[in-house]
């Protein structure tokens, strides 16, 4: 149906989809590195968030904060939700083009 492809353009909501939301949407499915309040680092694929900055990461691994440069082997966690209040910092990986976590449509 051609309807659906035309409509969004006219839909004021879509046009003005808030700047912030659009930016966030661009980050979806990219690698995130989140440091938590207890010092652990989580690296995983950014899948979902909400207004309280609760972030869901897929295929996530946990790294302990390295003390003296030695690299600790990661612990594989899978799908995790990081509550916003425990997030200290977020970094994004800009080396790789965004890769889909599940599958390409």
């Amino acid at each position: 149906m051609s309807d659906s492809t035309v409509k969004p353009i006219e839909d004021p909501k879509a046009v003005t989809e808030l700047d912030g939301k659009a930016k966030l949407r661009k980050w979806l499915n990219m690698n995130f590195r989140i440091e938590m309040t207890d010092g652990r680092i989580l690296i995983g694929v950014f899948l979902c968030t909400d207004r309280d900055a609760n972030v869901i990461l897929g295929a996530c691994s946990e790294y302990l904060k390295s003390v003296d440069g030695e690299t600790e082997e990661p612990r594989v966690l899978g799908l995790v939700m990081v509550p916003g209040r425990h997030i200290v910092s977020i970094q994004i990986d800009d080396t790789t083009p965004s890769q889909k976590y599940y599958f390409d449509e």
Partner: protein, 717 residues
């Protein structure tokens, strides 16, 4: 010695996880942007890739920093990284030679506490293997400690073997994973596997025996510390005897009977000494999670655990753990008695009784292995795979003979008593044999189910009823064939199966009471079903069996038959007791309902027919056919117009009757005493109610299951 191998990489003795291929990242900080952008989201709005990821997926994520879900949190509470064996030895925190006896006693008792925690369903990694000594037992120089640590490996392996063979555990009972610790082969030295360090069962036992003698010598020669050395010797001796006994149970040689009993008795005696001397060992520090000051690192394996793994394991306090072991030994001694239950019915009763005590996983497993070798679970699966192989190639199960004997003594069908060559044609004989073969699986599973924990038994019984339904059909056709055309069929096999089916049905319904699955407003049809049908049918099945078994002897020696007491007299009596109890509850419950004393569900959310159907669903596939809800309504309709007082009086009579029956039993066991107490109390309560006590009160009565798990005491509040 291979122990001194100085090769060492990373932490502990565990094999490390495969490391992912090297990836390089270019991290760019977006913290402030991110927190700014999310403000554009509505409250509760999720930003996600709509087609691929939704709320449903979101719900299955592990929540970080939630102590219940996040196992990694605890590694990180500012505690320094736990030291592994070599590091701890190096910095002098771990003594591997010249240990004081009190130190060894402390280590041993703490290890026992860890084993008990493992047996209660925690993981090995978080319990026994927090003992750092066990990471490299061969590197220990102190001889008693080394022997003990090696023996712990063998013991753990044996315990796991026993539990795995019996197959009566669920995830809540027991975790069989080893996390890379090679249990059986016992070879943790550095990170290498060294076959020369393999310790055989015999060698392990003789090592312990040697240490035992050494320690006893020390106890005699060193007067000032005699008691300490003796206490240590007792621990080593206990370990040896317990290991030997468990080996005998798991391997199950028939001639080892007396040995095993003697060993277990010895264990009990040693346990007394151990409990008495528990205070001689080093004790855990106050406010410390470590079960002993030296040798234990609660966090050492934390990083090995899978992501969703239970959080943190609290090790059982020492005194309780020793108590547990003491009771475990008594339970094993009790379980041994199954070996003298030759009759299947007695054995089945034994299993049910044992299960009622809510025994631990190890003793439940041991009981299974003691009854059937290798185990009922194994018998059942073998039967399943052999059912279609031709008769000649079928392996003979000991269990078939047990069942054959059971049928003989229960209903005594003529066909099982005939000598080969005599009697019916071979086809009939073959047919009967086939039937017996088909019985093996359901009955072996029944025994296995009795070994499971109480909560799991219910579902498994429901599944089993399906198997029994098929067996019933088969039994009927065997009966028809054996009797031959013309003569009225003697339902020997049918009666035998029916008896067991009814017992399973009753157990199924009663387990719902024990597990508190029913609401009070449902009680009335549960008790009604038991009262009107199941117990009645069971009584008549027993009666029929007695008739059938007696039949054949009738002609020969009428006098002798009279002398033989009815073998099921007590069981029949108990059935009548239960039937009356259920009748009493049923009538009382209807009266409560009429007086508005029972809270009913809101009518728009309620459909009694649906609930009824659900409660009795597993009973629907069998003969006797399930009694349907409509029939229930029809049959109980008249009671709706009854005067509650008359119902109370009728209920009262039922309890009175139950009491009278119970009082005729000359050797009352605990069960009888408990039932008697319940019957007496309820009799009085109903009498009060019949007299108009609290007639206008709508406060619901309470049902107190503390005296008996199935039959509550009615309490008016």
């Amino acid at each position: 010695m291979g122990d001194t191998d100085d090769f060492y990489d990373g932490d502990g003795t565990m094999e490390s996880l495969p490391t992912s291929p090297e990836v390089t990242y270019n991290w760019v900080d977006i913290t402030t942007d991110f927190f700014k952008h999310i403000q554009d989201l509505q409250l509760g709005e999720l930003l996600h890739d709509g087609n691929l990821f939704g709320l449903f997926e979101a719900m299955s994520a592990i929540e970080m920093m939630d102590p219940k879900m996040d196992a990694g949190m605890l590694c990180n509470r500012g505690n320094p990284k736990p030291l592994n064996f070599q590091q701890a030895v190096m910095c002098g925190k771990l003594k591997i030679e010249n240990l004081e006896p009190s130190e060894i006693i402390g280590i041993i008792d703490a290890t026992v506490a860890c084993i008990v925690s493992w047996l209660e369903g925690h993981s090995l990694a978080q319990t026994v293997f927090t003992n750092v000594y066990l990471h490299q037992p061969h590197s220990i120089i102190d001889k008693p400690l080394k022997a003990y640590c090696i023996a712990v490996y063998k013991l753990l392996d044996c315990i796991r073997d026993c539990i795995n063979k019996a197959q009566v555990f669920e995830e809540e009972d027991f975790l069989p994973m080893g996390y890379g610790y090679r249990l059986g082969s016992n070879l943790q030295s550095g990170n290498t596997y060294d076959a020369s360090l393999e310790v055989s069962e015999q060698k392990c036992i003789s090592m312990l025996r040697e240490q035992e003698e050494e320690l006893n010598k020390k106890a005699r020669s060193q007067e000032d510390e005699a008691e300490l050395w003796a206490a240590l010797a007792a621990r080593i001796r206990f370990t040896r005897m317990f290991y030997q006994a468990l080996l005998l149970i798991t391997k199950r040689d028939s001639q080892s009977g007396a040995d095993c009993v003697a060993l277990l008795n010895g264990c009990s005696e040693m346990m007394k000494v151990i409990i008495k001397t528990a205070s001689k060992g080093t004790q855990p520090l106050e406010n410390s999670d470590s079960p002993n000051p030296m040798g234990f690192e609660p966090m050492i394996n934390q990083r090995l655990l899978p992501p969703t793994f239970p959080r943190y394991t609290r090790i059982k306090p020492r005194a309780e753990a020793l108590q547990y072991f003491d009771e475990l030994v008594s339970r094993l001694r009790h379980a041994w008695k199954i070996t003298s239950c030759t009759n299947f019915h007695t054995a089945l009763d034994f299993f049910m009784e044992f299960s009622r005590q809510r025994a631990c996983i190890l003793s439940r497993s041991a009981l299974q292995l003691l009854y059937l070798s290798p185990s009922p679970a194994n018998t059942a699966s073998m039967a399943q795979s052999n059912i279609n192989s031709p008769q000649g190639q079928r392996p003979q199960h000991a269990f078939i003979e047990i069942l054959r004997e059971s049928i003989k003594s229960f209903v005594n069908p003529p066909v099982l008593n005939m000598k080969p060559g005599v009697g019916p044609n071979p086809a009939v004989r073959e047919f009967v044999e086939n039937f017996l073969v088909r019985c093996v699986r359901p009955f072996a599973v029944l025994v296995q189910v009795c070994g499971h924990n109480r909560a799991r038994q219910r579902d498994k019984l429901a599944l089993l009823l399906d198997d029994f339904a098929a067996l019933q059909e088969e039994a009927d056709s065997v009966d028809a064939l054996v009797s031959g055309a013309g003569s009225p069929p003697r339902a020997c096999f049918g009666t035998w199966v029916l008896y067991h089916v009814l017992r399973v049905m009753i157990a199924y319904l009663l387990s719902g009471l024990e597990l508190e699955l029913y609401s009070v407003h449902e009680y009335h049809y549960i008790f009604w079903y038991l009262y009107e049908f199941l117990y009645g049918w069971l009584v008549s099945a027993l009666g029929r069996a007695e008739g059938l078994a007696g039949d054949r002897k009738d002609g020969k020696k009428a006098v002798r038959k009279k002398k033989r007491s009815r073998p099921y007299a007590r069981e029949g009596l108990m059935c009548q007791v239960m039937q009356n109890m259920c009748g009493g509850y049923f009538k009382a419950l209807v009266a409560f309902k009429l007086q508005g004393k029972i809270r009913q569900p809101q009518s728009e959310f309620d459909n009694e027919a649906v609930r009824y159907k659900h409660r009795f669903a597993p009973l629907s596939v069998l003969t006797p056919p399930q009694v349907h809800y409509l029939e229930f309504c029809e049959m109980t309709q008249p009671l709706q117009y009854e005067n509650p007082v008359i119902l109370y009086v009728a209920g009262c009579k039922h309890f009175q009757q139950a009491r009278t029956f119970l009082e005729t039993i000359t050797t009352p066991d605990q069960e009888v005493t408990d039932l008697l107490k319940v019957a007496k109390t309820n009799f009085v309560v109903l009498k009060l109610l019949a007299g108009g006590h609290k007639k206008d009160s709508t406060t619901p009565p309470e049902f107190d299951f503390s005296v008996h798990r199935h039959f509550p005491i009615i309490k008016l509040v």
